[in-house]
């Protein structure tokens, strides 16, 4: 019975942790993309002839900014379905 309580506790804390990982990661990624996007729009408005070049760089940066967030999401998903912290309880 006590085992059950411990398992429930680990799962509860894991759920909270997953929410934090995905939520905080999303905050960082979205603010970063917002700043970068606004700079791109400013530059596009000043120099429309640079739009194709800047657009390519913008997509590259979007992928790089999203990287840490998506790594966090992948880890969170891993913990959601194959929680290694539960291995101690068998």
């Amino acid at each position: 019975m006590e085992n059950l309580a411990l398992i429930a506790q680990v799962q509860g804390y894991t759920a909270i942790a997953l929410g934090l990982i995905i939520g905080l990661g999303a905050v960082g990624a979205c603010i970063g993309i917002g700043i970068m996007g606004s700079k791109f729009l400013e530059a596009a408005a000043r120099q429309p002839e640079l739009i194709p070049t800047l657009q390519g760089r913008m997509f590259l940066l979007a992928g790089l900014i999203d990287a840490a967030f998506l790594i966090g999401v992948a880890l969170a998903m891993f913990f959601a379905f194959a929680n290694p912290l539960l291995a101690r309880f068998g």
């Binding site: 997509f59 999203d66 880890l75 998903m77």
Partner: protein, 271 residues
């Protein structure tokens, strides 16, 4: 796999996340990853080779025009950043781009299709996306690290490289050797790790969202209102996510390629 009660959803996802493994512990091999990546590598080579074989100096056909566009795009990207002889790096970049793109594109296959096909051969687990396996992405990024080290030694020589390891960026004072070395080590090791984990994270998360969307339509065969609503939701959200994922697939392949080129270029520039 259809029409299960919600309690089985974790089992469904766990089943779809299991690799076809041979051996155990450190020596386990993911057979599905190996087979898919080798197969797609052969497809890459075959596609590009067929374009080279049938190339005509006259009016090009559509496939030749497409491959020429691709090669020119890669060549421009490499030429902008890398200033030494690019006869090794540009073909490497092209291979990386096309191969990673094809491996990522396996994510667009219907979720249960590889499993059904594998079932005909009596195989119970088959993960179709090689880049959703950490082994593939780390293998590629460690190879890229090897290429970067090759360019480093070629441009700076062994002695020059060791000198740079211990004296940049802070200076040549012997007190600074340890901080310099530590910083350079972190910079060197973070490159392959971030390269591998970025690609893995994107593909793994994408696959997982496809699985979660598939669970939405799991209640269809119960013929209830909720089941039908779930099915329509699955089709709509599946379409939306797949369209978004097409962008992600191309973008991640492009990023891997560009970072390979940029790291090689950074390795050859002198301070």
């Amino acid at each position: 796999m259809a029409g299960e009660a919600p309690a089985d959803s974790t089992a469904f996802i766990n089943h779809h996340l299991t690799h076809l493994k041979v051996g155990e512990g450190f020596w386990s091999l993911h057979v599905d990853t190996i087979v898919m990546s080798v197969l797609l590598g052969l497809v890459t080579i075959g596609l590009l080779y067929s374009a080279a074989r049938k190339a005509t100096p006259g009016v090009p056909g559509k496939w030749q025009a497409f491959v020429e566009m691709l090669v020119e795009f890669i060549d421009t990207t490499v030429k902008e950043v890398f200033h030494l002889d690019r006869r090794f790096l540009a073909p490497l970049a092209l291979t990386i781009f096309v191969w990673v793109f094809l491996m990522n594109a396996m994510d667009l296959l219907p979720l249960d299709l590889p499993g059904k096909v594998a079932g005909f051969f009596g195989i119970h687990y088959w993960r179709a996306v090689p880049t959703a396996d950490l082994n593939t992405t780390f293998a590629m990024s460690l190879t890229v690290l090897g290429v970067v080290m090759y360019f480093t030694f070629k441009a700076k020589g062994a002695g020059g490289y060791v000198h740079e390891l211990f004296t940049s960026p802070f200076g040549a004072n012997p007190l600074l050797w340890l901080p310099n070395f530590f910083l350079n080590l972190v910079e060197l090791l973070s490159k392959p790790v971030s390269l591998a984990m970025r690609l893995f994270g994107n593909m793994y998360a994408g696959e997982l969202v496809f699985m979660l969307i598939a669970l939405l339509g799991a209640g269809f065969f119960t013929f209830t209102v909720a089941g039908t609503a779930g099915m329509l939701g699955q089709v709509a959200m599946g379409a939306a996510w797949a369209i978004f994922h097409i962008l992600i697939i191309t973008l991640q392949a492009f990023i891997f390629m560009v970072l390979t080129v940029v790291y090689s270029a950074m390795a050859t520039e002198h301070h």
